[in-house]
Symmetry: C2
DNA sequence: GCGGCGCGTTTTATCGATATAGTCTGCGAA
DNA sequence: TTCGCAGACTATATCGATAAAACGCGCCGC
C-alpha cells in the first residue's frame, strides 16, 4: 500500500508537506508542490480514509440502517441518498433483518463510531430497549413504533392515512372492509395505528366496527398476505373491500383476488399504504396512502444534519402528513 | 468518548491488559480481569473500530456497490447479506446512481481501503474505464456489461434467458413479439445480449427477425416502459407478444396493456426477465426468466471470499444459468 | 547591526488500538 | 544462596494521517 510517507520520500519532502499540498491547508511553494503532485501521480497514492477518520474523529458518512434492502426501504433509501450526498457526506446502508439483536448491535457504540450520524429504521426494538442505547453519535429514528421521547423521530400519520383510505372505500360503497395486516394490539405501532384509522373511518360513517375484519398476518410479505386472504375467503367471511396495511400486503391481496376471480374494484375495492412505485403499475392501479417519501427523507436528513452540526435543542417528533392517491382499485 | 486508556486508568492497569482481557490474546490473572471488566462496565467502554481497522489493516466489512437501492438490486442485496454475514463479515451497501463518475469514486483506492472486499454491480463503466481501476483490494464484478478479463465476474446467461422466454411465447402462438427495452448495439451488454436471444428464438423457429420490433427505452423504469409501449401501440405496429428486457419494464408494459384494454395473455403474451418478487403477484402473474438470485449471490460471495482469503488463481468469469418461470402472462 | 516578521517547511504529538519485546515477581531446583 | 524460569503485566513502537508548534532563512526597518 502506498502511504503518504512513500510520497514524501519520493518527492524529498516531509509528510506534512504532502498533506498540505493535498489538503491545501498551509500554503506550499510552487516547485515543491509540483514535485509532490508528480510523486503522487507516479506512485498512485490515495489517502487512507481509515487513518484520516481516526485522526479527524469524523467520517463524513451517514448510515441508514434498515430491516431489509428491498421494497419500502429500498425506495426510501433512494430518496435519502441524494439528500445526504448534497451535504457532502456519504450514505451507506446496513441491514438488520428486523432482528432486535442486530438492531442493537447496529447502534452499539462501536458501530456508531464508524459514522457521523445514523438513521435507524426501527422494526424490532421496543422503547425500553431503545432507551438503553448509548447515543454516542446523533441518531434519528424512522418508523412507526413508539420510541423514547429523547430521540428525534420521524413517523407517518398512520391513523389518518388508514382513515382516509377506509373512508374513501366506504364512500364508494364498501360496507365490509377487511383490515388486512392490521392488529388489535394496544401498543402504538404500525399495525395497530392503522387499524385505529380503519376503525375511525367506520365510526365517522356510523358503521359498526367488527373485529373479525381485523386480519393479522404472520410476516409482512406478499406471499403471506396472499395465503392469508385465501384463508379468509375460504372461511366464508363476506367482504367487499380491503384496507391493506402496506402495499406489499395489497399486492398479495391483488393476487389472491385474481386467483379467486374476484373483480377489483367491482366486487372488492382495495387500498394499500406506502404508495410503492409498483402500485401505480399493477392493474387496475392500487389506490394507496402516499407517505410522501421525499418529505420524510427531507425531515429525517434535516434533523440528523442539525444534530451533526452540534444542534442540541429538544428532540423533535415529526409526524409526516400523508395523502391518498386514488387509482383503479377503488371505484370512482 | 471512552477509550481503552480510560478503562486502564479506572482499573489501575495498562491499556494492553485491557486489550488482552477483551480480546483474550494473552492470559490475564483472575482478579485483574475482574477489575478490568468492572471498569469496562462502569464506563460503558466499547472498542473504537476505526482505530482497530487502522492497526489491523482489516475491516471485516464487504461493500456491495449498486446503481440504486430498489427493485432488482434490493432483492439481490438481501440474498447477498446473509452469505457475507455467515463469513463473519459485515455487509454495507453503497449507491452510485448508475453514474460512471460515482462508480469510479466508489472503487477508488481510498474507498476500497475501507473494505476488505467489494462487490461492484457495474452499470455505467465500460471495460476501458474499468481497466484503469487500481485494484488494491479484491473486487468481484456483477452485471451484464463486458469487463476486462482480469476481473472476477458473475453475469447471467442473458441470451439464453431471452431465447427461452421468446421461444416459449412463439411456441404458444405469438408471431410478432416486441423486444421492449432491448437494443441493436453490438457491444456486449444486457440490452443487446437479450436482444440476441430474442433473435435466436426467431431464427430457431424459422421466423423472420424484424428490427422494428426492437424497441429501446430511454430509462429503465416502469414509467418509461409504460409510456414507450403506449407510443408503440399508437404507432399502429401490430404485436401479439412482448419480451421485456427486465421485469421492471414488464411491469410498465402490463400497465400500458391494461390502459388500452388489451388482454394478457389472450391478445398479447408477455414475458420479463429477473423474476422479481412482484412478478408472481401481478395478475395474471408475469412469466419471467429467473436469474437464480441466490445462486448468483453464492457465486459472487464465494469468489470474493476466495480472493480475500488470499487466493490468487486466474480470474473467473461465471455465467450463471437461468430458467424460465411460466405464469399466467403467457398461454398454457 | 539587530530585533522582528513572514514564508515555507519540518518536528513533534496525537487519534485509539494492538503486536512485540521487555520487566518484575515469586517459586522451585541446584 | 543463587539461578532459572514461568506467569502476569507494562513499555514502546506502530498503523497512516493531521493539528500545532517549532524552525530556518531572508528581508525590512530603525
Amino acid at each position: 500500500m502506498v502511504t503518504m510517507s512513500d510520497v514524501a520520500r519520493e518527492a524529498g519532502v516531509s509528510v506534512m508537506t504532502v498533506s498540505n499540498v493535498l489538503n491545501e491547508r498551509l500554503p506550499v511553494g510552487g516547485p515543491t508542490r509540483e514535485r509532490v503532485l508528480a510523486a503522487v501521480e507516479a506512485l498512485g497514492y490515495e489517502v487512507n480514509l481509515t487513518a484520516r477518520h481516526l485522526r479527524a474523529g469524523r467520517t463524513d458518512t451517514v448510515a441508514l440502517i434498515v430491516p431489509s434492502f428491498h421494497d419500502y426501504f429500498g425506495e426510501v433509501a433512494d430518496e435519502i441518498a441524494p439528500l445526504v450526498e448534497a451535504q457532502g457526506r456519504h450514505l451507506v446502508l446496513e441491514r438488520t433483518s428486523a432482528s432486535p439483536q442486530y438492531e442493537m448491535e447496529a447502534v452499539s457504540v462501536a458501530r456508531l463510531q464508524l459514522y457521523d450520524g445514523v438513521l435507524l429504521s426501527v422494526a424490532g426494538l421496543d422503547p425500553e430497549q431503545l432507551s438503553r442505547v448509548r447515543t454516542s453519535k446523533p441518531i434519528v429514528l424512522l418508523g412507526e413504533r413508539d420510541v423514547p421521547a429523547h430521540f428525534d423521530h420521524v413517523r407517518l400519520a398512520n391513523e389518518e392515512g388508514a382513515r382516509l383510505a377506509t373512508a374513501h372505500m366506504i364512500e364508494r360503497g364498501s360496507r365490509r372492509i377487511l383490515a388486512l395486516g392490521c392488529t388489535l394490539d394496544r401498543a402504538h405501532m404500525m399495525t395497530s395505528d392503522r387499524r385505529l384509522g380503519w376503525e375511525t373511518a367506520h365510526r365517522d360513517a356510523g358503521l359498526p366496527v367488527d373485529e373479525r375484519y381485523v386480519v393479522p398476518i404472520a410476516t409482512y410479505s406478499s406471499h403471506t398476505a396472499r395465503a392469508t386472504l385465501h384463508d379468509v375467503i375460504a372461511s366464508g367471511l363476506p367482504f367487499d373491500g380491503i384496507f391493506a396495511a402496506t402495499d406489499v400486503i395489497a399486492l398479495g391481496a391483488v393476487a389472491a383476488l385474481a386467483d379467486r376471480g374476484l373483480r377489483v374494484p367491482d366486487e372488492v375495492q382495495l387500498a394499500g399504504f406506502d404508495n410503492l412505485e409498483v402500485s401505480s403499475f399493477v392493474p387496475p392501479g392500487i389506490t394507496s396512502v402516499d407517505p410522501n417519501h421525499h418529505g420524510v427523507a427531507q425531515h429525517a436528513v434535516g434533523l440528523l444534519h442539525r444534530r451533526m452540526a452540534g444542534g442540541d435543542g429538544p428532540a423533535e417528533h415529526v409526524v409526516a402528513p400523508v395523502s391518498l392517491v386514488v387509482r383503479g382499485s377503488t371505484r370512482r
